[in-house]
């Protein structure tokens, strides 16, 4: 027998506090969890999509960079593909332009019209854009091409969202 005998009153105190504590915790924990949930929410693995384009292989000539991403429509996931025109400008900075014509949404091509070399050309209605994506006045488009945000990860180009200028 130990010398510190636990009295009946002490024993009841301990057990009741213990059990009560568990019950209180059981109620409070979910509440706290709900309260802080927005902070813990995963950010959707950023919005940048990886491409196969190596950063140091980008030249001053616009090249087509294709990428694929998964698009979720409710419960249906499909693989969508997209394209960007990527090049380095005179200052050596990377420019990634959306290929979607600002007129009615056709896909523009670099340097495909013989009478307008070194321009982005839209085959649908003859829209023209300069190399920096600015629309040539007098052709149907009324706005410059959208620009992708991008970042470099392990030497590869990651594309974000295309934003209008």
């Amino acid at each position: 027998m130990s010398k510190n005998r636990v009295s009946r009153r002490q024993f009841l105190n301990y057990t009741l506090t213990g059990v009560g504590g568990f019950m209180a915790a059981g109620m409070l924990m979910p509440m706290v969890r709900f309260a802080v949930d927005p902070v813990l929410q995963a950010k959707g693995e950023s919005d940048f999509i990886p491409t196969k384009q190596k950063i140091d292989e980008i030249t001053t000539e616009p090249t087509r960079v294709d990428y694929t991403f998964e698009q979720v429509d409710a419960w249906y996931t499909s693989e969508e593909s997209g394209t960007a025109w990527v090049y380095k400008d005179d200052k050596g900075e990377i420019v990634a332009l959306s290929p979607v014509c600002k007129h009615l949404g056709c896909v523009v091509n670099w340097d495909s019209d013989k009478s307008n070399p070194d321009h982005f050309y839209c085959p649908c209605h003859g829209g023209l854009y300069k190399k920096d994506g600015m629309n040539v006045p007098g052709t149907p488009p009324i706005a410059p091409l959208d620009v992708f945000s991008f970042k470099e990860v392990d030497g590869f180009l990651y594309l974000g969202k295309a934003e209008p200028r």
Partner: protein, 154 residues
């Protein structure tokens, strides 16, 4: 433009720029060639999706005409000519048909529109990424065809 409510709103607004319609011709059969017709229909549906993406601003992609392989040729041609009359009266300048069914090739001259015949590719064994790149290649080849047709009539 796709045949959906969102795109059609834009179509109504910008009608003068959209002078081209594309009609996929999709065969349906329940006989021995059921598998072939399914493959053709699937391939053309995917291809027309990519094609629409490329030329969104100038063509209207109609929901395809699906037809029974058992129906006689004359009736099919009459049906398609009816479409042509309607589309011409609506002011469309260029009509394209896109199909994998080679039977159309033999009656091509009876149609006013241009017939594009693409042999169907067995897509069922490919993964999505490969499938997409093949379709994009096909569309690139069609690009010139469309551009030339547009230039000749402009």
């Amino acid at each position: 433009m796709k045949w959906n409510t969102q795109d059609i709103q834009l179509f109504i607004k910008e009608k003068e720029y959209i002078d081209t319609v594309v009609i996929p011709l999709l065969p349906v059969s329940f006989g021995e060639d059921i598998k072939q017709t399914v493959a053709m229909t699937e391939f053309i549906s995917l291809l027309s999706g990519q094609l629409e993406k490329q030329f969104k601003g100038r063509l209207l992609m109609l929901p395809g005409i699906s037809y029974l392989k058992s129906v006689t040729e004359d009736k099919l041609i009459a049906d398609v000519q009816q479409w042509e009359d309607e589309l011409n009266s609506q002011g469309f300048k260029h009509i394209f048909y896109i199909t994998s069914d080679s039977d159309w090739k033999t009656v091509e001259e009876k149609l006013n529109g241009s017939l594009i015949w693409m042999p169907s590719i067995p897509l069922e064994t490919m993964d999505d990424q490969y499938k997409n790149s093949i379709l994009e290649d096909q569309v690139k080849q069609l690009l010139n065809l469309f551009v030339k047709k547009w230039q000749n009539n402009d």
